[in-house]
């Protein structure tokens, strides 16, 4: 179902006007009846009257293979759980929050009706049906939040039934726990003023939160185009594009001295062992509004002084137009006998020649030795070309700064590690100040042992520094710690830093999102990874873990006043990596790393069917008016024009004229100026003219926002009181 995104005005909206006390109906660790016999149950098992008196019971979490309160039989493809509870409908909020920790997939039934299907395929489900993806790592412990409409509950006793499915009977673990409580008080989302003209790449309505599906999901305002994928033959030099596509850096070619947003190099890291970097040349065809790949080749790391590269993870684009690729693994061996350990360095590449540009003192190609050896993730260089920041994913888990001796020259400089003056507690900085401590980096022995030196000198250990970026608005340094599920920021004062704080995140932090299906809640989850700023200061956060989303955080976001949007969901099995933009920020390039071989084919902006099953792929995204033919994948504007609301202004009664026989599942929602829903109605059958009465609503408001949606259609109307 395609729904057009809501326009800016609709962002005013939100939720019901009655704020209920946030009462817990049943909590985590509650008692459940369960069936773990490993057989298919009768269809009626989920119905309220089904006799479960002979079932076993125990408190959550229930399962096996991970810490549980109640251990059930193993191995299982599926286990079945039920629980009766009592509600007073008058005490319920309009939607009720269900939190479920599930490893791996679930179907949830309330009073016999399916209300949640998560990480499970569509269609009929049997005992043998396996979950869509494997849930592992920290994701196994996340309580995924779902909203259940109040209308699904009955006065008095209700029954919730959960069937939990494994990824495979051979899997070592299976676990479930859940809670149910009134939804948090509604949050009024302020207008997104940055998107008034709708022409910036950050202008979109959040996608509806979802487990990973068989396809890439991006907002309906946007399109994507496949640029290259794993296994494609290079156009020059032989060989083919490697796998595990990671940092995806657009480097503008200069046209008349100006960086081009339509002609450039696209550098794609391959986080493989052995590693590699693909250097492509791409340009934008203004007539077709599509990108064309004109050349592709492997970066040459074959010099004996380099000994190749491994696990080219993230990286950076320097202000002087080179690529820095980051080796994420360290090895101790010195194969070529040059005194340097072979792997675990940053390496600078000239995109024009697809060769390493950094030099050793003897003129041979070299890695950036003075920047130190570690599990490098990325690097960002300030616009002045004097400072670089980077972090280690693994090892020390620390944040580093490098002050170049000569601007625009990464080969020599002084190295520092970040020490929070009062440390971290539970992932939160205790104080707001920090110190940059110098780390010796001038001898081979020191360069080969950066991390143990930094650790001894007292650098602060985060957990999995995946990326560091600099805000274009205030110059603050932002960095992710994947293991702590948070993005931090600080102000660099030279030898010290201040204003250290958590900017966004926290694995269990739930953000409210305005989506095409209304307001949804979604946990940040774990795995915040690559970061990128656009020029407006929006922070794009790519997630490796959790549900592998791309989030976008507004520059004026605070944890107390969140401004978080959800841009994309990756195909099953994959994570998004390495987003960079063209200088005009019309286009963003990123990669889809390790999708499963079971994902579906798709149609991209070319209109062609694309198939990247099981192959890492690199794509470009843009607003749909900027990419591909206008007719591809767009909403039919003819239909939009055929829906007219009149009279406007009105004294209360309006007619919605639907001059189309194509609209199905029409929904009309009205919001007041506080963003509260004051009217909502669904029309399964669409008549040519709908008469709606807003007389009551206009007693309390002089203006309403109508959101009219149907399958493949959306329109927002500002309705004024006469």
């Amino acid at each position: 179902m395609k729904r057009k995104l809501l326009s800016v005005a609709a962002f005013l909206l939100m939720t019901n006007s009655v704020i209920q006390a946030q009462t817990t109906i049943f909590d985590k660790g509650s008692s459940w009846s369960y069936d773990d016999k490993g057989v298919e149950l009768a269809e009626q098992w989920k119905n309220p009257g089904f006799d479960v008196s002979a079932w076993k019971s125990g408190n959550g979490p229930l399962g096996y293979g991970d810490p549980v309160t109640t251990t059930i039989t193993k191995p299982l493809n599926a286990a079945y759980f039920t629980k009766d509870f009592t509600v007073n409908l008058a005490d319920l909020t309009e939607t009720v929050e269900l939190g479920v920790m599930r490893d791996d997939g679930i179907l949830v039934f309330l009073n016999g009706v399916e209300v949640v299907r998560d990480n499970m395929p569509a269609g009929a489900i049997t005992y043998a049906t396996l979950s869509s993806t494997t849930i592992d790592g920290a994701n196994e412990s996340v309580y995924n939040v779902f909203s259940i409409p109040k209308a699904n509950f009955v006065q008095g006793t209700n029954r919730i039934s959960i069937e939990l499915h494994n990824r495979g009977a051979g899997s070592s673990d299976l676990r479930m726990d859940a809670y149910l409580k009134n939804a948090a008080p509604p949050v009024v989302i302020p207008p997104d003023t940055s998107c008034n003209d709708g022409n910036h790449i950050s202008c979109f309505t959040s996608i509806v939160p979802t487990a990973q599906t068989s396809k890439l999901i991006i907002p309906t305002q946007h399109k994507f185009q496949l640029i290259l994928k794993e296994g494609d033959p290079y156009t020059e030099g032989g060989g083919f594009v490697g796998g595990q596509n990671d940092f995806t850096g657009y480097v503008a070619k200069k046209v008349s001295g100006t960086p081009s947003s339509t002609d450039g190099y696209l550098s794609v890291n391959h986080e493989t062992n052995p590693g590699g970097v693909t250097m492509a040349e791409i340009n934008f065809n203004a007539a077709t509004k599509l990108w064309q790949l004109t050349k592709s080749r492997a970066v040459d790391f074959s010099s004996a002084s380099l000994v190749q590269t491994i696990r080219n993870c993230s990286g950076g684009v320097t202000p002087w137009g080179t690529i820095v690729t980051a080796e994420e693994s360290v090895t101790g061996n010195d194969t070529n006998g040059d005194g340097y350990k072979d792997y675990g360095w940053l390496v600078e590449i000239d995109p024009a020649t697809a060769e390493v540009s950094s030099k050793n003192a003897n003129g041979t190609k070299g890695k950036l030795w003075q920047m130190g050896i570690m599990n490098h993730e990325n690097v960002v260089v300030n616009d002045a070309g004097t400072l670089a920041y980077y972090g280690e994913d693994g090892g020390t888990h620390m944040v580093y700064k490098y002050a170049m001796d000569t601007p625009n020259d990464l080969s020599s400089g002084n190295l520092y590690v970040l020490k929070l003056d009062q440390g971290l507690v539970n992932g939160d900085p205790v104080g707001t100040t920090a110190t940059w401590i110098q780390v010796p980096n001038k001898t081979q022995a020191d360069q080969n042992n950066t991390t143990s030196l930094a650790e001894s000198l007292g650098g602060t250990k985060f957990n999995g520094i995946e990326d560091v970026e600099i805000s274009p608005l205030d110059g603050k340094v932002y960095f992710t710690a994947k293991g702590l599920d948070k993005v931090y920021r600080l102000k660099d004062n030279g030898t010290t830093a201040s204003e250290v704080e958590v900017f966004v995140g926290g694995g269990s932090t739930v953000y409210n999102l305005y989506t095409a299906d209304g307001v949804k809640s979604e946990a940040w989850g774990d795995g915040n990874d690559n970061l990128t700023f656009d020029e407006l200061g929006n922070l794009w956060v790519l997630q490796d873990g959790g549900k592998n989303y791309i989030w976008v955080i507004a520059p004026d976001h605070t944890q107390a006043n969140p401004k978080v949007k959800l841009f994309a969901s990756m195909p099953a099995g994959s994570e998004p990596t390495g987003l960079t933009f063209t200088p005009d920020h019309k286009f963003g390039f990123f990669s889809i790393q390790h999708p499963s071989s079971s994902i579906a084919t798709d149609v991209d902006a070319t209109g062609n069917t694309i198939d990247y099953k099981g192959k890492s792929a690199t794509i470009v995204i843009a607003l749909k008016q900027n990419l591909g033919s206008a007719s591809l994948g767009t909403i039919d504007h003819t239909i939009q024009n055929d829906v007219i609301v009149s009279p406007n202004p009105t004294s209360g009664i309006v007619n919605v004229n639907v001059n189309s026989d194509n609209l199905k599942n029409l929904n009309v929602t009205a919001y007041n100026m506080l963003g509260q829903i004051v009217y909502k109605k669904a029309f399964a059958e669409t008549n040519a003219v709908l008469e709606l009465d807003f007389t009551t609503q206009f007693q309390f408001s002089n203006m309403l926002i109508l959101n009219i949606e149907a399958d493949g259609f959306q329109k927002t109307v500002k309705l004024l009181k006469k």
Binding site: G168, S302, P440, D446, N448
Partner: protein, 300 residues
Amino acid sequence: MKNILLFIAIVFSVSNAAAQIDPLKYPTYTDIDVALLSKKTVYSMSFRNKGLYNLPPDLVRMDSLFFLNIMANHLEKMDKVIFSLKQLEILNVNENSIKFIPDEIGELKKLKTLSMNLNNLNVINSEISKLQNLKIVHFDSNNLSVFPEALLSIPSLEEINLHSNQISYVSDRLDKIKNLKYLNLSANQINDLGELKLPKYLKYLELQKNRIVKVPETIFQSKNIEYLNISDNAITQISPKIKGLENVVSMNLANNKLKELPEQLRYLKKLKTLVLVGNPMSKETIAGLKILMPDTAIYF
């Protein structure tokens, strides 16, 4: 004689460098079906992070493979198909749940690099000593409680990484591993190194994060050590014989119980970096050391 040795070493190193995997010459396949269909010989395969519980049986047909990466899967054992790959030189099994190494490991005679970090190994099968071409072994972050005795019978080893295990006993005959240059035993449970004899060409020695109280004087006979890390232990004093480390460039003694250091440090003319943070030393002691070693940067 010294020059001849150097020449031999350079020739040896260059020939090794040429053996590194060039992605263009040896593309790494990540899909067994694609590899099976390839008209070219497949030398390198990676199944990293594929969620595998078992390896594809058809891997047996990839009999020219010299590189195999199966890291970050759900493997609980090393499938037999691995040992049919007689040309393997580099095997990466990191981040699985492997509990033991089968006897068949001894059949991979050409293996040069064996990496098994982050698994559940309690012991290293002695059959590994049949791998006489092995240069690099990584067994970081397993559950080993003793230094694997079998490694003493592989003189070709140049790098051994055993950090983050539970090792409390280290053989005093490490000198049998004649070519060893890099040894990492950090983050174990070592409190007594006995009369440890180190290999002659050892360059980097990492013993940090153990419970070592006394550094054996035999360590200070290692003339080729360039980097010594014995930080985060419980060392109370350093022998004057430390002057034997005549090629040491960087020494990390941080976070021990050292109140002072022997004045023989002044003989370490190549020492550029000395890290002393976290020791109960007075400012006067540090000032004295700075005068004693004007060419050494002291971090305190």
